[in-house]
Amino acid sequence: MATPIIDSAVAAPSTVSPGGSFVVTIIAHDPDARALTLSAVVTDAEGNSSAPVSIPLVISDPITYALSAPTGAGFTITARAGSPNVFDCKAP
């Protein structure tokens, strides 16, 4: 299985005052995750076939997100509820 890929990881703003707040957003995907469409057809003994029926299929490989700051630097990092790829941060 493939390693996930980070498309972007951005701090906004990237320059803050001491104690200032900023937001980090991570956009990533996993190459193993894909959406497929299967087609089902049934055929009887006489060779009569049904119309094809499409069956969507999602192969997922969920990813988890994490953000860390240098140990002891004093940052506060809080994962935003409902948006696991967004972190509300506060500078030391």
């Binding site: 390693t3 703003p13 320059t15 005052s17 994490a66 941060c89 030391p92």
Partner: protein, 299 residues
Amino acid sequence: MGTTYTLVAAVTDREGHTAQQNINVVVGTLSGISPWFVEDFSTYTTTANLMANPNGWYSTGEDVCGNSAPNGTCPTSDVGTIWLDTGVGLNTGGYSLTQSMRYDQVDGGICSGPSVGRNINFPSSVTEVWVEVWLKWSVGWTAADSRAGGGCDPDYKLLFGRITGAGDRWSLGIEGGGGTADEYFICSYPPTGSSNLNVNFTGSPAGGTLAVAGFTPDSGDGWHRVRGHWKIGTGANDGVDAWWFDNNLCVNRTGINPSATTIYGLALGRNMNSGPKHTPQSYWWGRVATWKTDPGWGA
């Protein structure tokens, strides 16, 4: 201009495969010199918490929450006119804050001098201080007397530098232009007329009040930065009074000799001499910062 920290973003899939990417964040100040004291309202959880003064920075006995409430009677359960506004925060000039202190100025009651305000006591008294505040006004905000022809002094006392050793104060305010005219941001330079600050001017023009015209808080044009420098000096005509509204110079006096002893704090808002009747309006304090060493503003 600050310290660069590297944060690490990481993502992991179900099989434990991990990818990482570094993010650089610069923590500093606009001037590169850290403030001595900062109130950015980010530490408070509720209005009641704000008013309860958990950091001990405010002289709560002087809190004024409206014309009907005498000094020091802002109840934490019903402050009325002072709020922790979690929906309005400063986000400009490299700062990103999520909260502010909002003053609601209710029915103006023309000429009745309605007041809303709090007072910060510095960690210690100083003889020289640089101050930066960020402010935002509601659309239509005005200090002008709404009656035709006016009748009261259309001033709002915005910010004082509070002093010991004399009975006066340094004052910045907003003066109503009247009608549809712009407001004026005024930097009252103590003293005008009789004063106990014993200011000696060198240079010209002489006088106590200078102004930045074309001040348009009523336009709702977002945050404004007010910066200044007060120095009492040593009594040898080496005091300073210099203030800017955004990048517009309001007053710049050097060689002055105030008779004050120390500067001990700031008054964040006082009374509106005139004001519009029956027109609620608001403004917000986004950040208050002070420096004891020159942050490099040029005065």
